[in-house]
């Protein structure tokens, strides 16, 4: 019988999350909605990127079958990264919305998600317009929501760990 906590203590956080398994769920959809509502973004999404494999775990106003976006920001420097999209690019890049329409969005905000001090994913918010760099107040709000996202992620991971241990104990 494995002692799952002992096993996990020997792995890095990416391994831990991969071993435990984090499923998409309404928790993360609600968090994505809160990011969108806080910024008035047209759509938002939360991805985990574990060992280079990306998985969409939560989204707002965009389908779960969201195609891989045309960027891969793995190091955002701990900041809210603002990316304007030119009219030429916006005309080419179509983002799917939940109602089936395609939107040509013109800017985005991105934040890293860290788990045990290691980057494990990111949040993206996309806008119809070029909204500009976030204000210090909005940045603070987004960091607050990011902290909340990490806490929910840790809560889900802890719950799965406990259930895994219970299975091992009872099995």
């Amino acid at each position: 019988m494995h002692n799952i906590l002992e096993l996990l203590s020997q792995t890095d956080s990416e391994d831990e999350l991969i071993n435990i398994g984090i499923n998409p769920g309404k928790h993360f959809d609600m968090l994505a909605a809160m990011f969108a509502l806080a910024t008035n973004a047209e759509m938002s999404a939360i991805w985990l990127v574990l060992k280079g494999k990306r998985s969409l775990i939560g989204s707002h106003n965009t389908p779960m079958q969201l195609p891989e976006p045309p960027f891969l920001h793995r190091d955002l420097g701990g900041k809210v990264y603002y990316e304007p999209i030119s009219d030429e690019e916006a005309a080419v890049i179509d983002y799917p919305l939940i109602n089936g329409e395609l939107a040509s969005l013109r800017s985005g905000y991105y934040l890293d998600i860290t788990y045990k001090d290691q980057k494990v994913g990111y949040v993206a918010m996309a806008f119809n317009d070029r909204v500009g760099e976030p204000s210090p107040e909005l940045t603070d709000t987004l960091f607050s929501l990011r902290d909340l996202t990490v806490s929910v992620l840790q809560g889900r991971a802890n719950a799965r760990k406990m259930l895994g241990e219970m299975k091992a104990y009872s099995g």
């Binding site: 928790h27 609600m30 809160m34 509502l37 709000t141 929910v152 809560g155």
Partner: protein
């Protein structure tokens, strides 16, 4: 077993499970949720709380006040998803429940999104101020309702998990 989700593995939570099983003390996660609500709604005080039959337990807060009110005073708003007022005397007879700890200031701007478990209201996320404020806009309201729904998910999962673990370990003792 690999296809079974976390939620599948947990027993169904009832409102009573929540009050019986959840630790009725402050949660860092719900403190973070309260802080986010303060930022987005631009209100200085936030409380995330559960009601028992007679008491109100604060589980998360930002710049909180000690809500001394009993559950019964929330009866007028328990069946709503969201409720907001700018003058408490229109809705509540006893304004003392909404007084500042200094005993003089009374809440002017108060909005609550209710926390529901299995369709039953068990608590709320309240944002408030002691000075007159413009009502929350639609986006802020929607944010607060989302925050209450997330709080419900978190609280329900904790209650389910505790129920499941307690059942499993008590069975293992036989």
């Amino acid at each position: 077993m690999n296809t079974v989700t976390l939620d599948d593995m947990l027993a169904v939570a009832t409102p009573q499970d929540v009050l019986d099983k959840i630790e009725l003390s402050s949660s860092p996660l719900l403190d973070q949720l309260a802080r986010s609500c303060a930022k987005v709604t631009n209100r200085p005080h936030v409380n995330v709380y559960l009601y028992s039959a007679t008491e109100v337990y604060t589980l998360g807060s930002y710049n909180p006040l000690n809500i001394r009110a009993k559950r019964t005073i929330f009866d007028p708003i328990l069946n709503k998803d969201f409720f907001e007022f700018d003058d408490i005397s229109k809705h509540f007879e006893n304004k003392d429940h909404f007084a500042h700890e200094d005993g003089e200031q009374v809440m002017h701007a108060f909005a609550v999104a209710t926390i529901k478990i299995a369709g039953e209201t068990v608590g709320g996320v309240s944002v408030y101020d002691f000075v007159e404020r413009e009502p929350l806009n639609e986006t802020q309201k929607e944010f607060l309702i989302n925050a209450a729904n997330l709080a419900a998910c978190v609280i329900e999962t904790k209650a389910r998990l505790k129920t499941t673990l307690m059942n499993a370990f008590s069975l293992a003792n036989f």
